[in-house]
Subunit: 136 residues, 2 copies
DNA sequence: CAAGACAGTGCAACTCGATTGCAAAGTTTA
DNA sequence: TAAACTTTGCAATCGAGTTGCACTGTCTTG
């Protein structure tokens, strides 16, 4: 497991107490979390402090946000070596049963054919269905 | 151009004045619209009436909704023959310059390889970038 | 080390898209 | 036609996201 402190140092983000706690919490997860879930998981921490830390993390490309259609933005720590470029894009999977949102890091996005002269700079790809734990 | 009346009849939705006006308006568009844009385009019509008509339309599979990451759900009329099944899924394109959201009907989603035992039932795929009009 | 400058935090308030309660109006049914 | 049901319009509410502001902690510079 990568250490929060190292990641902050690597990305050039000042390691405050809030940021360290938040990033450590995010690193423990096996799914993407909403702001509300972080509030609940980090009881002593203020919502807007979490929110602003998330914005910083996003700006410095430590985490990426996912719009999974639930109405709540989810956040997940970027994989090692990710620079949030086009080639780092990956599918996300939202399980409609357990309501977890996962990064499908090992299943890259096939090349997408666009209409003539359209240019892709970003994408939000969410597949919905049942995850392996719920599809039984 | 398909007629609103015919579509409502085909899908078994009672053709009220609000629904006819709304569907006609949607059929004129070359992009997916937000609730707010419909309110502006249909000045005399109440927001919650539009909202509830959209919900009915979605339920009866006349239209589909798109979560393009702008924070406003967009709606577009389904193509002829669409049953909102997996095979009717398509990419959407959000142009960050003109802020239009398009259905890419002619560019089908390639088959997506999922982790073992994951089952796909739906998807929200949004590509962001510049459309042909803005990419000059 | 001290003073000022700056960044980060916590609280409360606010924004805005989405949604709902309710009564009036319209439509269908018996 | 009257009762039952559906649709509509208005106003109120909800909730995620965001921001203003004062306080605190940290850094910089003399």
């Amino acid at each position: 497991m990568r250490k929060a402190e190292d990641i902050l140092a690597l990305k050039g983000v000042k390691p405050t107490a809030v940021r360290l706690n938040l990033l450590e919490f995010l690193l423990e997860q096996d799914k993407a979390l909403s702001l509300k879930e972080m509030e609940i998981g980090l009881l002593h921490m203020d919502r807007s402090s979490i929110f602003r830390s998330l914005k910083s993390f996003e700006e410095y490309k430590l985490i990426h946000s996912i719009n999974d259609g639930t109405g709540m933005t989810k956040y997940a720590v970027c994989a090692e070596g990710c620079n949030c470029e086009l080639e780092d894009l990956h599918y996300h999977f939202y399980c409609t049963s357990c309501e977890k949102t996962f990064c499908l890091m090992d299943h890259p996005i096939p090349s997408i054919i666009l209409p003539k002269n359209f240019k892709m700079t970003d994408a939000n790809m969410v597949i919905k269905g049942l995850c392996d734990q719920c599809n039984k």
